[in-house]
Symmetry: C2
Subunit: 209 residues, 2 copies
């Protein structure tokens, strides 16, 4: 029924497993496009330009702001983060569902810029599970884990601003549920106004005869 | 995550196949309860009390109105139609998703009484398909078909008041999509406030330690 794709914002605590779930979903279904954010912060070890982020100079980022090239952007501490508009719009026009994996403030900005966006928050089965997952990585010191949990507690206050929550109990099951949830968005009335109009005109034609 | 079921309103043009789709869905999945409406109109040939409608006297219906026993009711021409509240509330409390198959005015009343209700409109693949289905039954005279199509044209003006549209191209496929759509409603943030609060408290406890 629908031509255009849906704009999906996925957020969730650090360690909840967003990346794994998205990977499973996008490997299984080909109707998704992943929007890579841009930032002026320096790449961390292992991060790849154009995959993890587009790493831009501050000058370039600011000139893109002036051109209106970001769907949303924000400055945290000394760095900019933003969502390049063109990639998102082009994929939506192609009928792809575009996934933005961004944090709470970015999500709220997207809501303002694109009210039709669907905001989904991924949760762990429990707070204890999140702690176990963060600790279980084994690579982080106790202070780092504590810092992430503290940030999670702060972020949790904004979950009410999202449309949906999804629990990552098992990556495959969660990927399936996420896919179903996103596909259900195509049935929203405001995504199908052309089709509804077509049915209406068709019915009116019968009356004129 | 969710304890309580979702309240689902399904409407659609006469002849679109709501009954068949619901039957397929409810045969396959056992988490649904179908809410039978009450009316003061006389039963038609073949209609069964308690299955098609609860057939009530006007006196009984009006006494139930006074008791607040209807989730919504309306009077059309000389008859009352309404949704008995208790059955709906009890099934929702049991965690069942309750289906109300009602027409546009009833749906709008439900929206007022129960803002969390999900309103779904079932559409034919095209206006021509609807005409074919109505004609194809072969049992109706041309005037009756014309009357139904006229009523459909009127009803179509209110589709924008619904949350979702679903196309009945094939009863089994449509039943699957309807099921997915309803299950996705359990992920709505406002259906999961207790669970969200539980996660928030859990995270705050880590901070206090």
């Amino acid at each position: 029924m629908t031509g255009r794709g849906s704009l999906i914002v996925l957020s969730g605590f650090s360690g909840v497993g967003k990346g794994t779930v998205l990977k499973r979903m996008m490997e299984k279904y080909d109707n998704y496009a992943y929007s890579v954010s841009a930032t002026t912060r320096a790449p961390r070890v292992g991060e790849v330009d154009g995959k993890d982020y587009f790493f831009l100079t501050t000058e370039k980022f600011e000139s893109m702001i002036r051109e209106g090239a970001f769907l949303e952007y924000a400055r945290y501490v000394d760095n900019y983060y933003g969502t390049p508009r063109k990639y998102v719009e082009d994929r939506l026009d192609e009928g792809k569902d575009v996934i933005l994996e961004i944090e709470v403030n970015g999500a709220i900005n997207i809501r303002k810029m694109a009210p039709e966006a669907v905001l989904i928050y991924m949760l762990p089965p429990s707070a204890d599970t999140l702690k176990e997952r963060l600790t279980g990585r084994g690579t982080e010191r106790a202070e780092v884990v504590a810092g992430r949990l503290g940030k999670a507690a702060e972020e949790a206050e904004n979950i009410g601003r999202y449309d949906y929550v999804i629990v990552n109990d098992d990556a495959d099951a969660c990927a399936e549920r996420l896919h179903s949830l996103i596909q259900a968005q195509h049935l929203r009335v405001n995504q199908n106004l052309d089709f509804i109009k077509e049915i209406q005109s068709g019915l009116e034609k019968f009356e004129e005869k």
